[in-house]
């Protein structure tokens, strides 16, 4: 899925971006349990999604999707960013808070309690989806035809 090497922060931001609202909600109280400032309050915008046919063809514009982004700063100065698909401002703020906490002194705690379970759930869902899709796969063969 990932062709380039991801930094640890890229990985947790990706996990937070894919986490569903229900998965983030249990952490809301812990995430908000600090003084923080909204540098950029959550705002909704559009982004253009581009694709390549088969992953290698010429790039084309697939369409636009709504994105919510947010930037917060904690009292200790760490700045958290989030970009999430959809229009849920509350989840964008939680994801930004999580990003900020993950850069702070309690990084390993947040990684173990928040990111790893979410990443495992996401990997499970991806594997399940891949398995479901694999059963519908159709292989095309060209039979060798004798010339004489």
């Amino acid at each position: 899925m990932h062709t380039r090497e991801q930094s640890p922060r890229q990985r947790w931001m990706a996990v937070l971006a894919r986490a569903s609202a229900a998965e983030l909600a249990p952490f809301e109280r812990a995430l908000r349990d600090c003084t923080y400032q909204l540098i950029r309050p959550a705002e909704i915008g559009m982004t253009l999604v581009r694709g390549r046919m088969g992953g290698t063809g010429a790039p084309f514009n697939l369409g636009e999707m709504s994105v919510t982004r947010c930037v917060v700063r904690l009292a200790d100065g760490s700045t958290g960013y989030s970009y999430r698909a959809g229009r849920d401002k509350r989840q964008a703020e939680l994801a930004a808070l999580a990003d900020a906490h993950l850069q702070g002194p309690q990084q390993s705690r947040w990684l173990n309690e928040l990111i790893e379970p979410l990443a495992a759930a996401q990997a499970r869902r991806a594997a399940q989806k891949a398995a479901e899709t694999a059963t519908t796969r159709v292989e095309f063969f060209t039979l060798l035809r004798g010339e004489d």
């Binding site: 540098i39 309050p41 700063r73």
Partner: protein, 202 residues
């Protein structure tokens, strides 16, 4: 990971869309009625850029508007916040700028700012000028579009500014200016003619 620039970031407008629209409206009104003061939305200043000047920047600048910064405003905090909230490119060459952020000390030399072409006078550079106040200078009589008869305006400016402006004013080419101080903005479009003064300007 370089965290220095993000430590300098601070919150901008409380309501980014509506506050920017209010400031844009104030700037339009300031230019359409030259010499009148219009109130801007309050925002936290980034020293030495005061609230009024910063509010104008937030409402007028985006990634299509190259900005030239006067040396006084060329600080890491101002660069970081403008890059974050406006996304405007900051240019070194005056000729490339569509907006210039100036303080009173930078007004002695307005050379280099693009005054537009005969065909596209609208592409000229707009000057955003931060002053300490908008009154108590030598009162000058302003005339032209948007002014019924004449209007006395006492901006605290040195004669050098008026000479620099006149040297670059070749209608329809010329420079438009927005002066800001103490939460207010005052417009000086290129179409305004500066008449005789009550107190003699040197």
């Amino acid at each position: 990971m370089n965290r220095a620039p993000s430590d300098l970031l601070q919150a901008a407008f409380a309501d980014p869309v509506l506050d920017a629209q209010k400031c844009f409206r104030a700037a339009l009104k300031a230019l359409s009625e030259p010499g009148t003061r219009q109130t801007l939305v309050s925002v936290a200043a980034i020293e030495p850029l005061q609230a009024a000047g910063y509010a104008l920047c937030l409402s007028l600048l985006d990634n299509d508007t190259p900005l030239w910064l006067a040396p006084a405003f060329d600080t890491p905090a101002i660069r970081a916040n403008l890059a974050f909230h406006c996304g405007c490119p900051i240019v070194e060459a005056r000729e490339e700028a569509m907006f210039a952020l100036l303080d009173a000390a930078a007004l002695d030399d307005l050379s280099g700012f693009y005054a537009g072409s005969e065909r596209y006078p609208d592409q000229s550079c707009t000057l955003l000028i931060q002053l300490e106040r908008l009154d108590r200078g030598p009162a000058l009589s302003w005339q032209g579009p948007g002014i019924d008869g004449s209007r006395l305006v006492g901006l605290p400016l040195k004669p050098a500014f008026w000479q620099q402006r006149a040297a670059r004013n070749d209608f329809p080419r010329g420079l438009d200016a927005l002066f800001c101080a103490e939460g207010e903005v005052l417009g000086l479009p290129r179409s305004t003619r500066i008449g005789d003064s009550l107190q003699e300007v040197a």
